[in-house]
Symmetry: C2
Subunit: 216 residues, 2 copies
């Protein structure tokens, strides 16, 4: 049996974050797909393990974990090597802050339940919903670009090794692909995205390389 079980899905950007961390730490894991595009996250079985009906859920050592950012911190506390957080309080805050630009500001605006509610409430069609997603993803890129101009990645966001910030930024850029955001207009973001894409853990965990994903 694998050390960790993750309920995930190719398209879930939050599951993507956890998958990258599992690869970075070399943790043996099994991924069980929950098709969030068809609403499988609302089944009675999944409700028992995830009160919010969102992805991912992770099981480890008898503990059930939800919320990607909390799972990333748990994995780093439980499987310390390689560390995904710096040592100083100031650097740890910086890593968490940069991560939260997407986890707590951009990404929550584009998840399935919000896209669905835009349609139900404002009659938004697919084009309007995609434009909404592109808008917030692009706003996130603009914030990242400004942050990186003030503290350039060297080569990763907090220094020599990838951290939780890089993982979350990587999930944001995967979203840029889904929403066709103009990533090339943000050169510091583009350069970091290319660096992450070349990293084996990020490459292996990419949404479009998971079972069920459309052909690239």
């Amino acid at each position: 049996m694998a050390a960790v079980t993750m309920y995930g899905f190719w398209r879930s950007l939050a599951a993507h974050r956890v998958r990258v961390a599992l690869h970075l730490k070399g943790i043996d894991f099994e991924e069980i797909p929950v098709d969030i595009l068809s609403g499988a996250q609302h089944s009675a079985d999944y409700d028992k393990i995830n009160a919010e009906h969102v992805l991912p859920t992770v099981m480890h050592d008898g503990v059930t974990l939800f919320q990607s950012m909390a799972i990333l911190e748990y994995l780093d506390e439980t499987f310390p090597e390689p560390a995904l957080m710096p040592k100083s309080a100031a650097d740890r805050a910086y890593v968490r802050s940069v991560a939260l630009v997407t986890v707590a500001d951009s990404h929550p605006l584009v998840v399935p339940r919000v896209r669905k509610h835009l349609g139900a409430t404002f009659g938004a069609d697919e084009a309007a919903i995609n434009a909404w997603g592109r808008h917030w993803n692009t706003e996130g890129l603009a914030t990242f670009e400004k942050l990186f101009s003030r503290r350039p990645p060297a080569p990763f966001i907090a220094g020599a090794q990838p951290t939780i910030a890089d993982i979350c930024f990587g999930s944001h850029v995967a979203g840029s692909g889904f929403f066709k955001s103009p990533l090339e207009q943000f050169p510091l973001c583009k350069a970091l995205a290319d660096r992450l894409a070349a990293h084996p853990a990020f490459a292996a965990a990419h949404p479009l390389k998971q079972p069920g994903a459309p052909a690239m």
Copy 2:
């Protein structure tokens, strides 16, 4: 000079979280208001300290901090007593997960820039925007209620002392007031909200007790 300076505002639920933590830890702080309802967060001066143009920003010991969740963790690492996080990795994950139900799922949907974009994009009027806010705040309450039924607060979310989870839940409930969400339909949430309201640190930090707030 105060140990900590916070750029905040009475109405900001994210600033509210940090203000509660400062009160809980008895940290001497100064709060500088940035009127997010009139757009003051987009000034050139504020841009220099907050690339995202959001509240709060905290300055401590030469470090500039943003994103409320990252600030809460920083304060807990830097001013350890009383602790706002439990000791075991599993409990720490639970606290972060519960906090993120509002920090990363409900609250991002109702901040000023989103309310404004709903108006600009879908022609949403004030009533529609308030209904949007109430919808997502109520969804958050429903998730909290389910979580609390599975692991009852005793008396706080992770046990005897308030943690980051209680702080973030408290900010959610302050939002329930703003949006007139049916808090009384969620008895476990209501009971915990009443318990927090009676706590001196939560009471002192309440949005409606800050300078500039409308009369209660």
